[in-house]
């Protein structure tokens, strides 16, 4: 085998700095996590959560709580007007737990009679406290209210989802939006 001499280029195995390859796989992997599920409901009693303090990450809406499945349905205002006594008003807060799972946390507002129910008041207080620190709530049936436990240790700040509240709402209530009186849930409420 005979080969020709070629123009020499300096290849220096001692010039390590120029040979180093990048290891920043986060930027180069080209993969992002898709948020396809946003649970709706109060956090479970073992979960420490934070609530997004931004006003743009909460909204008060009309909703129906279907007790059988313990599920909330959002009702559009025009339909809500037609369903007096069936709808409740809830503030939906955006919360995340320590594992970074985002959820929409509905906290009921006082009813038309203005009566304050301790369950709802304590839940609202918990949500507000969760804007500043990690808390978990536990139902105390003797107290008829939620007990609030606050993490006193230094815990890392939450990682918020990179979605707008509208997007979270769309994902969370994908199958549970009542936008007309023809919705099967309304029919069921009317005894159909």
């Amino acid at each position: 085998m005979e080969i020709k001499a070629t123009q020499q280029v300096e290849l220096d195995p001692f010039d390590l700095a120029s040979l180093r390859l990048d290891q920043s796989f986060i930027e180069t992997a080209g993969v992002r996590k898709l948020l396809t599920t946003v649970p709706v409901g109060k956090p479970n009693s073992q979960d420490f959560v934070r609530v997004h303090p931004g006003a743009e990450y909460r909204e008060t809406l009309a909703a129906i709580e279907w007790k059988e499945d313990r599920e909330f349905y959002v009702v559009v205002p025009d339909v809500a007007k037609e369903l007096p006594g069936e709808c409740v008003f809830v503030t939906l807060f955006t919360a995340v737990n320590r594992q970074g799972v985002a959820r929409l946390w509905p906290v009921k507002l006082p009813g038309p009679d203005g009566r304050i129910i301790e369950w709802h008041r304590s839940a609202a207080e918990a949500a507000e406290r969760a804007m500043r620190g990690w808390i978990r709530i536990k139902a105390n049936h003797s107290l008829r209210a939620y007990e609030i436990f606050e993490a006193v240790a230094t815990v890392a700040e939450p990682e918020w989802p990179d979605k707008t509240f509208q997007e979270l709402l769309r994902i969370g209530f994908r199958d549970r939006l009542i936008s007309s009186l023809d919705h099967p849930l309304i029919a069921k409420l009317r005894g159909a």
Binding site: I3, D12, L21
Partner: protein
């Protein structure tokens, strides 16, 4: 194709040599082909001169297959090292690491992989026997051996042509540079106390029963020389030690299980050493040369991470850690054992860019720092005040590096799965950036089919992919890069490295130079950590042993003491008998 190689000369080199156990290679003949000059040199052992018969400057590419063998011959002959080395073995391993190869990774295997013609394996064996036979060779035998050697050079040329188009030449030269360091380390070897080794070899069989009886006093698990699993189960129950089980529900008796358990329950260590010694120890295989040095081929780039993978039975740093007590510097010398402090944690912190992790590493005690960051201990905690909690967080850090999940970690730390899960969760929450990066590493590998280190050592995603192994690859393989570079720098600066040991290096020096050389070694290790980790420096530790002291691994101390005592006990009786 080869005219693309930017060198004035390209030299293909192959030696035939005698490699007796523990000895330096003894060159028998050499064939070298200068491709550009179109010249082939064939030299028999009595024709070797003071210099190699080919250029070795920076404008010449020295090409070999498993180059540390050829470079070891250079050292045996007192020849200088080539400046630019291309090892096609290392490049073949890089190209196929993680993939199946149809015929292994030998020269023949590489030729087969590329569909090239190779010398028949049977003929190769016959020729090797002729070389290693030694003594004198007839003219016909000399010609046959030289022809055989030249046929390997022919094969090397074909392989170079096939591999050149996809060679990452700049980084291939970095790997080639390491083969020179590997040759130097194989040349030096590890100093061994040959007198004690001789006594051990002589008495090993006769002391085994006494050794079992002695160690088993604490366990009660042997029946004669048989390890009884049911008795071991009883021991575990008495001692309150949880133990991993196999899928069929039996106690796992693998060495790995014993090794992991010994970390949480050190009492088990002596039993592990005993089992390992009885099952695997072949003292006669420990390769020690006439000069009292343990030498064996380091098998560079053999492992998936690119680390060395020397034979467990031939290498003094095999799995029987008590045997390392045989390492003893010769009179007037000392040895230094230098290692990086928490190397994997430091690499993970630096490469992932996780600032909390970096801060924990730089605290000097990452395990305690992790416990503090997770809020498990107060800011004024120390190893003395919060030792047990620190141990839990240490187990978590080590477990994470192996991709350990809660059930196995629970066994390892002797706590409930809930505690293990909480620890793992604390790691995920405290080091979020690291976890994102770690997930991205696996994503990258699965999407692109490979991962690579800072100097381009690849692992390819084969058919039987193990995500845990992929996740750990950046730490292990960049750790291997670091070790190789440290070996290069130190050997080039005149430090005598005896052996690389995973993430550590054993060096030797005359006593008057020992401290200086240990410092030089540690400087090299710090320097290469900055190179690999883009400026982030890893700390190092050093343990210095001066003659007449011996090296000892703390994990093997109990076993070593018992073995030595048993040998000493038998000495008088045997002397009387022989008298």
């Amino acid at each position: 194709m080869l005219d693309a190689l930017p060198f004035r000369e390209v030299v293909l080199v192959d030696f035939e040599f005698i490699a007796s156990a523990g000895e330096r290679p003894e060159p028998v003949c050499l064939v070298a082909r200068a491709l550009r000059a179109g010249r082939t040199v064939r030299l028999w052992r009595d024709e070797f001169g003071p210099e190699p018969p080919y250029p070795i400057g920076a404008d010449t590419l020295f090409v070999a297959y498993y180059a540390s063998a050829e470079l070891g011959c250079h050292l045996s002959l007192g020849w200088p090292m080539p400046a630019r080395i291309l090892d096609l073995f290392a490049e073949f391993r890089d190209r196929t690491n993680g993939r199946e190869t149809p015929a292994g990774s030998s020269l023949l295997g590489a030729l087969t992989y590329f569909g090239l013609d190779g010398l028949g394996a049977s003929e190769k064996e016959e020729m090797r026997s002729l070389v290693t036979r030694g003594g004198s060779w007839s003219d016909a035998e000399r010609a046959a051996v030289l022809d055989y050697c030249e046929s390997d050079v022919d094969a090397l040329g074909r392989l170079l042509t096939a591999m050149t188009p996809r060679l990452d030449l700049p980084r291939a030269l970095v790997r080639g540079r390491y083969m020179a360091a590997a040759a130097a380390m194989e040349h030096h070897g590890v100093p061994v106390d040959v007198d004690t080794l001789g006594r051990l070899r002589k008495r090993w069989t006769s002391i085994q029963d006494a050794l079992i009886a002695d160690i088993d006093l604490d366990f009660g698990v042997y029946d004669g020389r048989t390890f009884k699993a049911d008795r071991f189960q009883g021991y575990l129950a008495r001692a309150g030690i949880p133990w991993e089980r196999t899928e069929t529900g039996r106690l796992s008796l693998s060495d790995d299980t014993f090794r992991q358990a010994a970390k949480a329950y050190p009492a088990v260590s002596a039993l592990r050493e005993l089992r390992s010694a009885l099952a695997d120890l072949r003292l006669n295989d420990l390769a020690v040369g006439q000069d009292g040095r343990n030498r064996t081929i380091l098998s560079a780039f053999r492992s998936r991470s690119g680390r060395n993978q020397p034979s467990n039975t031939k290498f003094i740093f095999g799995p029987s850690v008590w045997l390392r007590g045989l390492i003893k510097p010769p009179p007037g010398h000392g040895v230094g054992y230098c290692d990086w402090a928490q190397q994997e944690f430091g690499i993970a912190a630096a490469l992932s860019g996780d600032l909390a992790m970096q801060s924990a590493y730089q605290s000097g005690d990452p395990y305690l720092a992790f416990a503090m960051q997770a809020g498990a201990v107060p800011a004024h905690a120390t190893k003395a005040t919060h030792g047990p909690t620190r141990e839990l967080f240490k187990a978590c850090v080590l477990g994470v590096s192996y991709g350990m999940e809660a059930p196995r970690m629970a066994l390892r730390i002797g706590q409930s799965p809930f505690v293990a899960r909480s620890l793992l969760q604390a790691h995920r929450e405290t080091y979020r950036r690291f976890w994102r990066w770690s997930d991205a590493c696996v994503d990258c590998a699965m999407l692109r089919g490979s991962l690579h280190t800072v100097f381009g050592w690849h692992v390819h995603v084969g058919e039987n992919v193990n995500p845990r192994s992929l996740r750990n690859f950046p730490m292990q393989a960049n750790g291997a890069e670091m070790l190789r570079l440290a070996c290069c720098l130190a050997t080039e600066r005149g430090v005598e490295i005896c052996a690389p040991v995973h993430d550590a290096l054993l060096i030797t020096a005359p006593l008057d130079r020992l401290e200086t050389d240990v410092a030089a070694m540690r400087n090299c290790m710090a320097e290469v950590s900055r190179i690999v980790l883009s400026g982030f420096e890893l700390g190092t530790d050093a343990h210095v042993i001066r003659y007449p002291d011996r090296y000892m691994d703390a994990r093997g101390q109990v076993m070593w003491d018992r073995v030595i005592r048993l040998i000493a006990d038998r000495q008088p009786a045997l002397s009387e008998k022989s008298a």
